[in-house]
Amino acid sequence: MLKRIRQRLPLSEHIVQWCLMCTAFLTVLLLIGIFLFLFLSSLRAFREITPSEFLLGNSWNPVSYHRASWGIGSLLQGTLLVSTTALLFAAPLGLFTAIYLSEIARPLVREILKPTIEMIAGIPSVVLGLLGLLFFAPLIAKTFHLSNGLNALTAGILVGIAALPTIASVCEDALSGVTRRYREASLALGATRWATIRRVVLPAAHHGIAAAIMLGLGRIIGETMIVLMVAGNSLAPPRSLFSPARPITATIAIEIKETIIGSTHWHSLFALGLILFLLTFLVNFVADFLIHRRTL
């Protein structure tokens, strides 16, 4: 049946279909191109850097006074610490916001709140960074009696704020997608509204919720401007949330400005980019897998 309809399509439809297909393939080609570019550019770094030092070393100092060191350990720890903090901040807040919007709020309130939350996604991260630098970091310093508020905690919370709308919005879609009948059946059996949310709606939507969190995590790992401005930028491996950290993204942004094109340092930054690419790719892959399972 479907096939017969397609055969009768006018020419203009074919052209549109063909254009869309080309665009889709172009996107895939771009992705493959970026990956190959990163991969080939980073390969040259390993003429001078041993892969074991790169992956297992804990000291990153390409312009050392003595001998350059190329270990990504402390940078990776910075990325993981800031990302975990951001996720622990944004995931519960995003989920609770979504529950309120989907299950509790009146339609009018929802119609106002949801676009407002999505608008947070439109705040440029450099503005969040500026707010962090001027107001939030001093507040953190005062609250925890620190000498300086530029640390992994400050960066984590601000990056969490940047990812909050993604998580809240996609979570809300997942919860709204749960059929009304489940809720009606649950309420008919005498369950309270909270029990219905906890025992029926959340389990039914859990793949979508997990996907929302993974999408948010993808955003969190790649965030550069905020961590550059408020993470404190210290090369030592962070020892606690109150330590300054230097995630991979900030390192690339700082050091690419001073490298001579084609030098080992230049290539090593592409190797950092490749690590970042693989991390976000993995996260998005898992998110995609979860979304796919939800629709099955």
Partner: protein
């Protein structure tokens, strides 16, 4: 990403390319980039210069000495500001690319060590500074202060001050715990708020208009072996070189500027007494007789 926004990005590289071209080929424009220590000073000079030369358009940006030098080697700018001399590797790359590098000394700087005013320490030796910044001393108690941790503030590796301080004072790698700040002012602000902090900045960021130390920080005296401690605010000591971390700050050009070019006019203005008065008003020190000698060799080459 939606389709329209992806296409919207396409013209961007083209725009950037044309922007770069305009910087080097058009004779009325002068693009200057580099040291964050110098950016305020050179902006002040450019503003005064533009008052007399209305046809010239100067753009001055920071980013760090290494950034400026990299841009000069990549052929993107007319003048690179640098708060350190160019390294041998950078000079080799310049000659490899056929660049006839020219060095101009703009001003003298006494790199200043700043502390929070509550910190009782007033003098440090070069050895103590090295111990502090390399991480061998981690508590103020280790050098005769209170029992509190030392919080290190320094610059990013793009900075000429980062390289100068490491090579002349620390003579070792910086402690990994040092916080890499974006610029001089960021260090001043951080130390102002941190009773345990220590930072290094150009003297232009320490002095106010009257030649006193600005509010909220203290600038310490530095002693060499067997010598009296010297303050970076002592103009004559800095110019004589008695202050142990005084330094010339530079501008680099990719060639001898042609006669009548805006680059030549700007260099002559900077070297003039008007220009050097602006250097002093911006908190730095005027160049020495020896520097004047070296600059005039460059200016004499202009035909």
């Amino acid at each position: 990403m939606s389709m329209p926004s992806r296409f919207a990005l396409l013209p961007l590289p083209l725009l950037l390319l044309t922007a770069c071209n305009r910087g080097t080929s058009n004779t009325t424009n002068l693009t200057i980039k580099g040291s964050d220590t110098e950016v305020q000073l050179v902006s002040n000079l450019a503003k005064a210069f533009a008052r007399h030369n209305t046809s010239a358009h100067l753009s001055v940006t920071g980013g760090g000495s290494a950034t400026g030098i990299a841009s000069l080697l990549n052929g993107e700018i007319d003048i690179a500001n640098s708060s350190r001399p160019m390294s041998d590797a950078e000079r080799a790359q310049a000659s490899e690319r056929g660049i006839d590098l020219q060095e101009f000394i703009l001003a003298r700087d006494g790199l200043s060590i700043i502390l929070h005013p509550e910190n009782p320490i007033t003098t440090l030796s070069m050895q103590q500074l090295s111990d502090i910044y390399s991480g061998r001393a981690t508590r103020w108690k280790d050098i005769g202060g209170s029992d509190a941790p030392i919080v290190l503030y320094g610059r990013q590796s793009t900075s000429g001050t980062f390289g100068f301080f490491r090579d002349t004072v620390v003579k070792d790698d910086y402690a990994q715990t040092m916080r890499n700040m974006e610029g001089n002012q960021a260090i001043v602000d951080a130390v102002r708020a941190d009773a345990n902090g220590i930072g290094y900045v150009g003297v232009g960021y320490v002095k106010d208009d009257q030649g006193n130390v600005r509010d909220g920080i203290s600038a310490i005296l530095i002693s060499l072996k067997n010598s009296n401690p010297v303050s970076p605010l002592d103009r004559e000591a800095v110019k004589r070189g008695d202050y142990p971390i005084s330094r010339p700050i530079y501008q680099y050009l990719p060639a001898v500027p042609p006669r009548g070019s805006p680059a030549e006019a700007f260099l002559r203005f900077e070297a003039s007494s008007d220009g050097q008065a602006i250097v002093e008003a911006s908190g730095f020190y005027a160049i020495t007789a020896e520097d004047v000698q070296r600059n005039s060799t460059l200016l004499a080459k202009i035909h």
